[in-house]
């Protein structure tokens, strides 16, 4: 690579990084400003004196603790259910032969292309009739049984050679034993990918809670933050503080598990 192209390459990288990161920078910096300081002419790229107390005030000015608690609870339950039932079903699809299997899998795959927005109405009617709307169960139900988990795990299980399973079968291990003792340990990376993607999706889900969770004591962080924004629309700094707090846990989790996250996206992306 010539020196000029290299230089141009770096230039492009810098521009792209700024474009990606600037909103986040603005969010963090504004969260440390006073309200008057957020919008100024000329733009202040650094707070006069950082208002760290914003990060204490937000907990008393809003129901942040409850919102975060609800979100953590839902994210954990949904992720566990998705990983367990998804990998369990994927084993059936990948390693057990029975009539109707492939047709059923096609139905799973088919719905991956159907946007949730197009069946959210009948789904809502159904869950309301089951008296599940405005309960945590509604969010758990709509998030935990997606086709994505089955698809991602099946993809991985198919890469594990059948000979390994046959050896275990000859040793007298049951299919459930094989799933638990052989497949699960072998598929830790794929399980991690699925868990991370599900966790992030559930944490960030705005539409599900918007439709289903009417009672304020059930609200998740997304719903709570949104209400906070409309109620305290002039509290620019605190709004940004809340935004930082809603994004921060996910960024940390992403940074810790980045490898698995990226692998998961590449798998589902390329094969979908």
């Amino acid at each position: 690579m010539s020196r000029v192209t290299r230089l141009l390459g770096y230039l492009a990288l810098v521009v792209a990084s700024v474009a990606v990161l600037l909103p986040f920078y603005w969010m963090v910096v504004s969260s440390l400003k006073t309200n008057n300081e957020v919008f100024t002419v000329p733009v202040k790229w650094w707070p006069e004196s950082p208002q760290w107390h914003n990060y204490l005030d937000i907990w008393t000015r809003s129901d942040m603790t409850r919102w975060l608690g609800n979100t953590v609870l839902l994210s954990v339950v949904v992720t566990l259910l998705q990983v367990l039932t998804g990998s369990f079903a994927a084993y059936g699809f990948a390693k057990v032969r029975f009539p109707g299997r492939d047709l059923l899998f096609l139905a799973y795959i088919g719905t991956l292309a159907v946007p949730w927005q197009s069946y959210m109405i009948p789904q809502f009617v159904l869950l309301s009739k089951m008296h599940l709307s405005d309960t945590r169960w509604s969010i758990i139900a709509i998030q935990a049984f997606g086709a994505l988990g089955v698809f991602l795990m099946k993809q991985f299980y198919e890469s594990i050679p059948d000979e390994l399973l046959d050896a275990a079968r000859i040793d007298g291990m049951s299919e459930y034993g094989i799933y638990r003792r052989i497949m699960l340990p072998l598929s830790t990376p794929a399980l991690a990918s699925l868990a991370l993607i599900t966790l992030v999706n559930t944490w960030n889900d705005f539409l599900g809670p918007l439709l289903y969770l009417r009672s304020s004591d059930l609200w998740t962080i997304q719903l709570g933050l949104r209400t906070f924004i409309s109620q305290y629309s002039a509290e620019y700094a605190l709004i940004m503080t809340g935004s930082v707090l809603s994004v921060l846990p996910i960024v940390v989790i992403f940074l810790l598990g980045q490898r698995y996250f990226v692998e998961g996206v590449a798998t589902t992306g390329l094969k979908g």
Binding site: R6, G9, Y10, A12, L13, A16, A19, V20, P23, W26, S30, F39, V41, V43, L84, T85, F88, A89, G92, F93, V96, F98, A113, V114, P115, Q117, S118, Y119, M120, I121, P122, Q123, F124, V125, L127, F145, G146, V150, E175, N204, F206, L207, L210, Q222, L225, R226, I229, M240, S243, V244, S246, V247, V251, Q258, F261, V265, A266, G269, L270, G272
Partner: protein, 295 residues
């Protein structure tokens, strides 16, 4: 354990279903049944009082003359037509850039994903502030470089959609960049060598080797982008709520309005069927094209 073929078959069938069942029960009840119900509800008139009443094609007829519906279709297409090429070019460009041996590539690959994993409520709020017409940083910068009357962005009927498109692209480019990067790993290195031996410059190598080899990935990305554009909802709800006026009202939001704000479940289902069919059409095209390529 039975050893006859028929016995093994029964055993396997039971086994297979036992593995599927926990997920399948939830999946069937929450996805398959609603999708099936959709096509029944779409032909009914139904408000919160009383049940669904079969009215045949009334909803479809009403749709044809519903100005709000057509505005939503038009806006959805507006978003789609700009969002797809913009995101495609940006994410492919970034992927090509990251595929070079430059320092700090790993850093950028990480960072580019932040918009995609950051919650939409926070992201939309930040962008709304950045786009703020009077005192927002974007217009401040525009004024500084000599634009005397910078756009009103989300407060202007003409500029709200461009603002939403920009944020949509900003949010999704990292995701598709990653998919392009994965695709680039499948381009055989020998082809580049051969092209170089033939004296092809970087530009020619891009057009003659990289892009043709990437075609399946590009196709997949376009399909994904199309469906993503058709179903866009959360970004719109939190950024502009469809406004000002109807300038950013999209199809999925129209469903939301009719269904959850006006409680017209039947009519909302009819609009949903349109969204469903649009996405279904895209998938069928994808299926046919893939089939032809494999043949």
């Amino acid at each position: 354990m039975t050893t006859t073929p028929a016995g093994r078959r029964t055993r396997n069938t039971l086994l297979g279903w036992s593995f599927l069942l926990p997920n399948l029960l939830g999946f069937a009840l929450l996805t398959m049944v609603p999708v099936a119900l959709l096509f029944y509800y779409a032909f009914t008139t139904w408000d919160i009082f009383g049940g669904a009443e079969w009215t045949g094609l009334d909803n479809a007829r009403q749709l044809m003359h519903d100005a709000g519906f057509w505005a939503a279709v038009q806006n959805t297409l507006y978003y789609t037509v700009f969002h797809i090429p913009l995101t495609l070019v940006v994410s492919l460009g970034l992927a090509l850039l990251l595929n070079k041996r430059l320092r700090a590539v790993a850093f950028f690959r990480t960072v580019a994903f932040f918009p995609y994993i950051a919650s939409i409520v926070a992201v939309a709020q930040v962008w709304n502030m950045l786009f703020s017409p009077g005192y927002g940083p974007i217009n401040a910068v525009l004024r500084a470089v000599g634009v005397d009357h910078p756009p009103g962005w989300t407060t202007s009927a003409d500029w709200s959609m461009p603002a939403v498109i920009l944020v949509g692209t900003w949010r999704e480019m990292g995701y598709f960049m990653l998919i392009f990067l994965a695709g680039l790993q499948t381009v055989p290195g020998e082809l580049y060598e051969a092209a170089r031996v033939d004296g092809a410059n970087a530009w020619q190598r891009l057009w003659a080797v990289t892009l043709p080899c990437l075609r399946p990935t590009t196709f997949f990305v376009v399909v994904m982008l199309t469906v993503n554009s058709f179903k866009i909802l959360d970004l719109i709800l939190v950024m502009t709520n469809g406004g000002p006026g109807q300038s950013t009202l999209v199809l999925a939001q129209y469903i939301y309005r009719k269904g959850f704000e006006e409680n017209q479940f039947g009519y909302a289902s009819a609009v949903s069927v349109v969204l469903f069919l649009l996405c279904f059409l895209v998938t069928v095209v994808q299926f046919v094209v893939n089939r032809r390529r494999e043949a």
